[in-house]
């Protein structure tokens, strides 16, 4: 911990210690019965109106592009006519786009883009009072699952999610179709993953998501649903509150759960003890587990196997040869290779600020301690710069990375491209989220 960090800690605690008691709680008298009846009636009305609101809000924005219908069953088999984007990437992507431009959080819309041409196929505004939040893709480049959260000035993951199937049909009169899925509303959702077939949706919840409950039990649950029927197929649970090293943040849903081995396994990251007391936070051990979804058992950690682990400390956050502190760890679709970002910084020439080196490290699950470097970029930037690095692994060979290094003025050029053979090839994909305000939630 740096002297500045030490001083912030000791200062805030000294200020806090001036408070030793709180005044009595003042709650209002119970509501008048008529108020309660009116409230419940209004809630019933809202519930009845909700599907209609969704339809009106979406259809009014892009009526010529979009078909909205209730999901009534049917198979979600992927199209066999998938084309390829640059460098083997999927051609089409779905990206979250804030509907506002200011510094305050705004609801997210969906933008469906073509990475080959750089064009936009469709934009879908969120239902009234909602924000699109998570987006995950199947392997066919046509099938996506998205969810929404209530939006009341900010997003709060305690709120339940509503699920939609998004099907792309480029070149047709309705290039995007959004359908409500019959999955139940779930709170504390932390990560999603759509199987490569598009038939099954894995949803992680609980675990670290129960923020504010450090020291209390918050079980992690992994649920597997049929996208077609909404039926709950499997459930795995853990009493370890760190069962998932979750992000659960817009744009990061695809990193925390990964379908591997032709939809026979799910990989997830765990961080035992990460949500302990302050000393425990100085050291972080992340372990990558693989769960065989075809095998019996319902224990999230007990029935999975560890294929990789790494211990880092906060002091090593800027070390050159290990994953950064609390870094996203990705696994390839065959489960054999793991990739994570690493950041190091050193003094640059006089007047040039600092020299930042961003690396993408790769580990083999057969030799999980030796890392190789897939790609390195070095930048001189102001001393108050902050790096952001996000990646997605498409299949076995392709890594799409987006990274920023921006300065005090929140300026800095974002990059999205493909990492291959030690090179970074930019993609014609606009970064729709402002750096630092909302990560570029994007699924391929």
């Amino acid at each position: 911990m740096t002297p500045a960090e030490d001083l912030v800690r000791s200062t805030t605690r000294a200020i806090a210690d001036t408070v030793t008691e709180a005044p009595p709680l003042r709650l209002p008298a119970p509501a008048h019965p008529a108020d309660g009846a009116r409230s419940r009636g209004a809630r019933r009305l809202r519930n009845w109106l909700a599907p209609l609101t969704v339809a009106i809000a979406v259809a009014a924005i892009a009526a010529s592009l979009l078909v909205v219908r209730d999901f009534t069953g049917g198979h979600t088999a992927p199209s066999t006519t998938a084309t390829t984007g640059p460098d083997g990437t999927p051609r089409y992507y779905v990206e979250l786009k804030p509907t506002g431009t200011g510094a305050s959080p705004t609801p997210n819309a969906l933008v469906i883009g073509d990475a080959l041409t750089g064009s936009t196929l469709a934009t879908i505004q969120p239902p009234a009072g909602q924000s699109f939040f998570g987006v995950v893709a199947a392997a066919d480049d046509r099938t996506f699952v998205v969810d929404t959260l209530p939006f009341g000035g900010q997003l709060n993951l305690i709120e339940p999610r509503t699920w939609y199937l998004l099907r792309l049909a480029p070149g047709t009169g309705a290039p995007a179709q959004l359908s409500r899925l019959p999955l139940p509303s779930l709170s504390y959702v932390t990560a999603l993953a759509l199987s490569t077939s598009g038939d099954e949706l894995a949803i992680a919840s609980g675990g670290a998501e129960a923020l504010g409950t450090v020291g209390k039990l918050a079980p992690g649950v992994l649920r597997l649903y049929s996208v077609t029927t909404g039926k709950l197929l499997r459930t795995w649970t853990s009493t370890d509150q760190s069962a998932f090293d979750v992000d659960g943040i817009a744009g990061e849903n695809t990193q925390d759960l990964t379908w591997i081995d032709d939809d026979h396994g799910i990989a997830f990251l765990s961080a035992p003890g990460h949500f302990g007391t302050a000393p425990a936070r100085q050291k972080l051990t992340e372990t990558l587990h693989v769960l065989n979804v075809t095998a019996p058992g319902d224990s999230l950690l007990g029935d999975s196997r560890v294929v990789w682990s790494q211990t880092t400390t906060q002091a090593a956050d800027f070390g050159p040869t290990i994953c950064s502190w609390e870094a996203d760890v990705l696994v390839s679709a065959d489960g054999k290779t793991i990739v994570c970002p690493s950041v190091s910084v050193s003094a640059a020439a006089a007047g040039k600020g600092e020299r930042w080196t961003l690396r993408w490290l790769a580990y083999s699950t057969s030799a999980p301690t030796a890392a190789s470097t897939l790609f390195t970029v070095t930048i001189n930037q102001a001393s108050s710069a902050a790096p952001l690095m996000y990646s997605q692994w498409i299949g076995v060979k392709t890594i799409i990375a987006d990274w920023y290094l921006y300065n005090d003025g929140m300026s800095g050029e974002p990059h999205i491209g493909v990492i291959s053979n030690g090179h970074f090839t930019p993609l014609p994909v606009p970064v729709l989220s402002l750096p630092g305000l909302n990560e570029p939630g994007i699924a391929w």
Binding site: S187, A210, T277
Partner: protein, 176 residues
């Protein structure tokens, strides 16, 4: 209509009161660090619990109310600070110890000169950076937990923390 059906369940008041007994002091401490004065902090925490009480029956899950309360307190602090900004309140310049309001929490805390400089520097930070630093170093929350409490992305937390620390570092070194 049956009165018992329409009345707020008694357990809501009992539950919220019990939560207040357990968490109020900690939340007032958090608010004091963020807004700088005790009276505002107590009002913010009262409002947070009142909001929880009113929403109790609508919450999808009441197992983890501290998460809701922390986010509410953070929102309340943000509102209070913005209201002050609209009214023309300006935090003191770094190093001008005598500018610290007499009734502020900082003035009552036993702070070294260095800590007092940090306290003032904290109050000069943009609200997002200040909140990120307080949640990280006062509450020892992880980046994930901070992101959820603030309702922002983890990347935002990372950058806000980094910038806030950099600004405080500059202040300690005698910069602006």
């Amino acid at each position: 209509m049956d009165r018992a059906d329409t009345r707020l369940p008694p357990s809501a008041a009992d539950s919220v009161t019990a939560l207040y007994a357990e968490h109020a002091v900690g939340l007032v401490r958090l608010a004091v660090v963020l807004v700088g004065d005790r009276a505002s902090a107590e009002d913010i925490v009262q409002d947070a619990f009142l909001g929880l009480y009113r929403r109790w029956d609508d919450l999808p899950d009441t197992s983890f109310p501290l998460a809701y309360l922390r986010a509410s307190v953070l929102n309340g602090c943000r509102t209070a600070l913005r209201r002050r900004a609209r009214l023309g309140f300006r935090p003191p310049a770094a190093g001008t110890v005598t500018d610290t309001p007499v009734e502020s929490a900082e003035s009552r805390a036993l702070l070294s000169e260095e800590q007092r400089t940090v306290a003032i520097a904290l109050r000069r930070l943009p609200e997002r950076q200040r909140a990120a630093l307080v949640l990280r170093y006062y509450l020892d929350l992880s980046e994930d937990e901070i992101a959820r409490t603030m309702g922002v992305s983890r990347g935002t937390v990372k950058s806000a923390t980094h910038r806030g620390l950099a600004a405080i570092g500059r202040t300690l070194k005698g910069g602006s």
